[in-house]
């Protein structure tokens, strides 16, 4: 073995060892600081983890762009939803007076709120863009109660790490981490462009996540569950989306 190749071998060995131990340390740190998404397994796990970790480090507190009133889309688009059924129609006929939002899980005071109660809480509006993963978008004014206010009201326990939210549509459920749950633009919305939130756009109650793609803004929200262990929900991937092949984190 020549001196050159021995030196090369030693250098390569040192670099490889440093690289491997660097990765182990990075993985430990990432886990400790909550930088690993629930769907980090599988062949696309590394890319997903890099995206989520990088964006959490860069964008934990950043606000989605807000637009002036004249930028509101004249023709927003309501994506297709599966038929909502008779039970939903009964709610609709009663002007959603009987609609309730249940909040349970790791809360000091689990509760159930009517729409009227939610509307009596502090409200916030923002004019933001909603982007579908398919490629289309629109801008609207969204009004609702900040999720952080609801979490405060029910006394969310300090160990809560995720908020799981469910739709009236039984197959749809989602979850977000605390960076998004406590984010000032995260709203339980009941108004759009100054009027009642139309059913096509998720009325009577839609979760609005301003910094993620549209599918995180779940329509027809009926229940919030506060948890420290996301693995116990569904298949343990964080939401219904990864079970259908889509990423849990949709900050893109």
């Amino acid at each position: 073995m020549s001196i050159l190749s021995r030196r090369k071998l030693i250098t390569t060995g040192i670099v490889a060892t440093a690289g491997a131990s660097g990765l182990v340390v990075a993985a430990k740190l990432a886990k400790r600081y909550g930088l690993i998404p629930p769907d980090s397994g599988g062949i696309y796990g590394p890319g997903e983890t890099l995206t989520y970790a990088a964006q959490r480090l860069l964008t934990r507190h950043s606000l989605a762009r807000e637009f002036s009133r004249n930028k509101i889309s004249a023709k927003p688009f309501a994506n297709e939803v599966a038929p909502l059924g008779d039970e939903f129609k009964r709610f609709q006929q009663g002007a959603f007076a009987d609609w309730r939002l249940v909040v349970d899980g790791l809360a000091a005071r689990p509760a159930s709120f009517s729409l009227a109660e939610l509307k009596s809480f502090p409200r916030r509006s923002h004019i933001t863009m909603i982007q579908c993963e398919e490629g289309w978008s629109y801008i609207a004014e969204w009004t609702g109660v900040p999720l952080s206010h609801v979490l405060e009201r029910v006394g969310a326990l300090p160990q809560v790490r995720y908020v799981v939210y469910r739709s009236f549509q039984p197959d749809w459920w989602e979850s977000i981490d605390m960076a998004d749950a406590l984010h000032p633009q995260t709203l339980l919305t009941y108004e759009m462009n100054g009027g009642e939130l139309p059913v096509g756009f998720g009325g009577p109650l839609r979760m609005r996540i301003s910094r993620q793609l549209g599918y995180k803004s779940l329509k027809y929200v009926t229940r919030l569950t506060l948890t420290d262990n996301i693995k116990q929900f569904g298949k343990g991937l964080g939401s219904a989306e990864p079970e259908g092949g889509y990423a849990w984190y949709a900050g893109a």
């Binding site: 964006q55 289309w136 910094r211 793609l213 900050g251």
Partner: protein, 233 residues
Amino acid sequence: MAETPHPRHSGLVRVTHWLITFAFLALLVSGLELVVSHPRFYWGETGNVNTTPLFKIPIPSSRNLVPTGYGYVLPDQNGWSRYLHFQSAWVLVLIGLLYGVASLWNGHFRRNLLPARSDISPKRLATSIVQHLRFKRPGVEEAWSYNVLQRLAYLLVIFVLFPMIIWTGLAMSPSFVSAVPAAVNVLGGQQSARTLHFFLTVALVLFLLIHVFMVFLAGFRSRMRAMITGRAA
């Protein structure tokens, strides 16, 4: 064995070339698949099926509510396409950075890609263009060096097209632009970024086609051997 004193392409160039090739092809396949879910392009901040597109691609869609004129809807493949697109983008960006920083450091850009000042004259450029248009096979001297058009094309890809396609990609990310709003604002909006991203893809595909054609013209076996093993002749 007639071994050359140094390889035609350095180990770093060879490894990063092929990693970026695989990442680019994965990005291309997954990106084109994503277009199928909404084969309409807009200019400005927003756009959807209720608004007028800048242009449409006349293909069927994987979504029911997109009017395409076709009587059928393709199956939705966006889940894996999105995962693959972003994972490959990470490979492209990280390997691209490694290549870029190393090439600045070791003089690869200056030595091998920056054209000689004398080659930039209109006359020399015109000669090179005519030679290319006649599909003239390169001589032996070009086995060890790039010609002036080749250098300019590579510089355009490395310093304009790839940075622009990464930028326009990031400008579509709702989370990224919340931290860096200027990234999308200076492009004229999120839909403009998507449309530019598409045109940059077209430009890179054109480059790829010409690049592969030129490799065939120059001698597929020898050029592939040079980029795989490093041996030129």
